[in-house]
Symmetry: C2
């Protein structure tokens, strides 16, 4: 049977489904296409870290028992022992996408496994923001938004120690999982479902997509190039808005401690000619002390002690050319004035009908129930009144991963399904507030949590809470595969905390780490520093003239790059092409480029190979086949492996000789 | 339907199976009785440590579709969607046992799960030798013979470090797993199958027994007492033989390094009046050095350099009243003379037909293929000629856990099934050699690995390679639940290396640890010391006058206990009642006694509460309701919690005032 529509061709026979020459489904004697099952999960959450266990009582390997065509639909009927259990309806939509819709499934079945045909040499990318492995092949990836964990590698002592506090994480734990991936067979696959999923890319002959809900559909689209594929994917999922122009001014400095302290530190930055775009004060709403470190007081009104008359002060900074950015998350501390003043129905409930209190580590919070339209509207108004009207030019929209699975939600929906959707709802709450205020060109928010829809509602990702060290899975290096995989999932704008965040189990930030992170950030869409969770014990840039001078240099590089970066961001906005791109995106004939996850192309013309190890004077880089020029030495290179000088202040960056921005690039080393 | 035979009554209706008033099977809407499935396992072995993964493609929850009676058999037909998949045939055998036989199952199905009805307060014990948890409830236990691992607790630094070498283990890893358990509902359940199994005791309403093969049968028997239950279980599985009389003489000293060194050390023991029963020299066949420590040269002939004219020397020691014990295991080093001289067909093969070489850490070995009757006979003759004929009074019959799952065996059997059976075959090889030589009253062998049948073929267990430390899961304490669970599986005679064995990752044996271990060993069936894997770095008793004096004292306690111990061992031999018994075995009305796993009754009349922590002068003991007398102080106690003095040399031991051995017990403190 054959279906053609909008230049797409679908061919179905009794054993295979082929779409635009890609073999997508194949039933063999050893491997069926679909399994249907029933399971009962056990989920325990400890401060955003989850233990998830599944007991599958039944799993049926279904085989094709019938195939037929009705008008513009092909249908595959699947059965077990000749009893019909599921129909897969295949259509081509008006964009030429293949949409597979599972139908006629009895309500009892709550587990489904779809096997996609694979080849041994195939690679896959995406699945949201993946911080340990860019190419997902050879591993399975549970998709469940959570704390990423500290260390994120069971073989490290940091994770071992953190696991004693249920907080160690693993290679797949992420704030932003998404059931979407891109295959080197040049197709994308997106599942329309927020339920728990586990994508298993370990088998040479198939990918097995597990969902804890029969999904609405699986959507596939093919393209001739990866750029084209991401354009199509973001046409489906949505695209990010451009960043406000003021972000080009330089660094958003993460400072805190109240107006006087910020004033003092600001002058230190200025004395060293650090180009400042704004000040980001996450503690605008006050602080509390916990064993983890200084934590914020989750009561979304400005703290009159730390920031007296904050709106007036914001105006004052604005007159100096500095934006003010704040912080908010979708939880309200139960010991806060805001909680006391709020309708309890605006928070998710426990089974007894009381406000569900989530443990955030020495304090408890209510969870704003976004399924209650009144609660959504109320929290939007909090954002409008207390942040937007106070003149904030942006904020960290933190968290979103902590929806417990035993809450009772206002609209009666299943928290096992809503859990992964929550970050999208939280992004939308911010988005709606800003758009209703007409401030989209002025304000930038940044989130670490994500879900399908983040592409549309969240203008900027940040890579979450890295450890302040050189570890591959949780340190500076991890932000690179994070950016690349987020980009392959349609999120082209991301950045990370300069200097990292988490100082625990003996990890302390060094000056060198901060400086390496800063020079990398100049080649990302947005520059923002963070003092970390334990500011006093860790290195701070404002305490070192050398580091301030180095940071100043790279804020000037960032400023000078503005025309190029704006063009790059324009591509993100118009086509979804990520700002930070894997090498294979533009060099797809280069087999080596597919396994590089610690270098990236920043736009079409810059190749960035950040130094992510300590005490390096030289650095090995891989360049795909092209004419490249070292940004700092003007030396020319062809493709291949090269060792280059890479002292502090000289992050390995190369530009294409053919670029139309070569004149600009040449000036960067004078910044 | 009802069946009665040999005082047993079986009642079956459409939802339940009740045997002698025990509800064994119960089908509810939520929980079926049987699941049938098909899976494909991945098994990797690294030096006896296994990674086992299962991909279950199909799992069917079966429900009862028919029940009928034919003569003396009841049958339950199970189906999925009304299609028949399996029949469970239920009969009562001539011993009054319930035998459940799964029948009419298509060959395709290689996974089966049987759910037994449970109650929340029920406890279960056994499953072979379990070293971390005596009561198995609340956890699942994969049953697969392997190295137990170093540390055996994922929360300890030792295990973390060992896991980097794939050698950390977990709470369930054991040399001796067995699909047999005893429930506090006063029944035992034994599965006739050696295939991989996983017994899941986590659910309040059922136990789920998973087998990777449709087993021959499940057997159940009930009794009024635990003593009666174990008598019945060992009537099914077999019982151990009595230990040779000479074992009552005192310590079997683990010494090595060749005849002259042993002579020197022997004199040191004798100078301090240590009562010696024998010398155990594991290196009689020579040594090799590896990074793990001194390892033995697996070439089962005496080493003429270390032990010139060994048989004559053995005779000489015998004239002095000392037995000589050796060492053997079912592998032969590929670089040994014995390997070169042996028919390659006596070893398991790889898929290319070559001898399969197993990596034992810096050296490789062939695996004697016990499924080849000629190989079995050959290895038996090696034992007869090189050990028995040389006058050995016993040996450690080491290993048995390393059968790789990808070997090709002579009789064509599946290594996935033979793997767990291997220790029984290895035990039988030793047993047959000794019995054919008519030396059963003279020779004792001891094994760490086990399987169904070990009860009959292995006269004495030893608890394997503990770490030389105080850790609960892998140190001195772990030998107590090991003995108790082995006992509940029908192995009533066991002991452990005095001082422990494994010194790795910074663990070093202290004098105190050795002394605590020694005083405990006096209240077990057999006393044997070990120098450990790294003798030079670790404490050795012969280097300390204080420790030798302490050891001497406890060898004299052991000697004096002989009449009592012989009576205890007689009960093991006649009824299977283990020498080391859980408190509840004789105090079943005492609810607290069911959760005590670090004390034991040694026979009916002694309660032993070993000190398993460092630097203790006092120790908390629990005594069940009875009249007890402190062995060292003559102080009387009733049941309950008591703190008693427990300096070195005063292991907390109590005897029953009603015992007929009180006169003997009173003399022990003068030993």
């Amino acid at each position: 049977m054959k279906l053609t529509h909008q230049n797409s061709t679908l061919i179905v026979d009794n054993q295979t489904v082929t779409f635009n020459h890609r073999l997508l489904l194949q039933q063999t004697d050893e491997s069926p296409i679909v399994f249907l099952g029933h399971g009962e999960e056990t989920v325990t959450m400890y401060r955003g870290n989850f233990d998830i266990d599944d007991q599958v009582d039944t799993r049926l390997a279904l085989t094709i028992i019938n195939a037929y065509q009705v008008a513009d639909k092909l249908a595959l009927e699947f059965g077990f022992q000749d009893v019909h259990y599921l129909t897969l309806e295949l259509t081509i939509d008006d964009q030429g996408r293949l949409v597979m819709i599972p139908q006629q499934v009895a309500a009892h079945w709550n587990r489904i496994w779809l096997r996609l045909a694979a080849t041994a040499d195939e690679k896959v990318y995406g699945a949201g923001e993946q911080m340990s492995h860019f190419n997902l092949r050879g591993r399975h990836f549970p998709l469940w938004t959570s704390e990423p964990g500290i260390g994120r590698n069971k073989h490290t002592l940091t994770t071992f120690k953190a696991d004693a506090d249920h907080a160690g994480g693993d290679y797949y734990t992420t704030n932003y999982p998404e059931p979407t991936f891109v295959s080197t067979h040049k197709y994308y696959c997106h599942t329309t479902s927020y339920a728990y999923a586990d994508f298993d890319f370990r088998h040479p002959d198939f990918h097995e997509l597990q969902h804890w809900q029969v999904p609405t559909s699986w959507t596939f689209e093919t393209a001739e190039t990866y750029v084209g594929l991401i354009e199509q994917l973001t046409s489906l999922l949505g695209r990010q808005a451009p960043l406000p122009d003021w972000t080009n001014q330089g660094l958003v400095a993460g400072l805190q401690g109240g107006t006087p302290r910020i004033e003092t530190l600001k002058r230190r930055f200025q004395d060293h000619h650090v180009a400042l775009a704004g000040i980001w004060a996450q503690d605008w709403e006050g602080i509390r002390m916990t064993s983890f470190g200084k934590r914020l007081f989750w009561n979304w009104q400005f703290d009159d002690n730390l920031y007296p008359e904050l709106p007036a002060q914001v105006k004052q900074w604005r007159q100096e050319g500095l934006r003010f950015l704040g912080y908010i998350n979708p939880y309200v501390a139960v010991d806060s004035p805001m909680f006391a003043q709020t309708n309890p129905d605006y928070f998710a409930k426990n089974k007894r009908g009381e406000v569900y209190e989530v443990d955030f580590g020495e304090f408890n919070c209510g969870v704003v129930d976004f399924t209650n339209p009144y609660a959504f509207k109320w929290f939007k108004s909090v954002i409008k009144t207390n942040l937007i009207d106070a003149g904030f030019a942006g904020w960290m929209a933190d968290f979103g991963e902590y929806l417990p699975t035993d809450v009772v939600l206002a609209d009666g929906s299943d928290p096992m399904v809503m859990h992964n959707q929550w970050p999208m709802l939280w992004a939308k709450c911010n988005y709606d507030a800003i758009h209703e205020a007409g401030k989209e060109a002025e304000i930038v928010t940044f989130m670490r949590a994500g879900a399908t829809g983040s592409q549309r509602y969240n203008p900027l990702l940040w890579a979450g809470d890295q450890s302040v060290n050189w570890s591959l899975d949780d340190g500076i290096a991890s932000t690179i595969p994070a950016a690349l995989s987020a980009g392959m999932t349609g999120n082209g704008l991301t950045h990370s905390d300069i200097g990292g965040y988490t100082s625990m189990y003996g990890n302390l930030r060094t000056k060198e780490l901060f400086m390496r992170w800063g020079e990398m950030a100049a080649f990302t869409p947005f520059m923002r520093s963070h003092e970390g969770n334990r500011p006093a014990e860790n290195f701070q840039v404002y305490d070192s003239g050398e580091a301030l001078d180095h940071l100043a240099k790279f804020t000037h590089v960032f400023q000078r790059l503005t025309p190029y970066r704006q063009a790059v961001i324009k591509e993100v906005v118009a086509h979804g092409t990520p700002a930070q791109r894997p090498l294979f995106m533009h060099y797809e004939d280069d087999p080596e480029s597919y396994s590089i996850q610690y270098e990236y192309l920043f736009g079409r013309d810059l190749l960035v190979a950040p130094v992510y190890q300590a005490e390096k004077l030289k650095w090995s880089v891989y360049l795909p086949d092209d004419d490249w020029v070292n940004l700092w030495t003007d030396e020319s290179f062809r493709g291949g492996h090269h060792e280059v000088d890479a002292p502090l202040g000289q992050i390995p960056v190369f530009y294409r000789k053919q670029s139309s921005y070569t004149d600009l690039f040449k000036t960067l080393k004078q910044a």
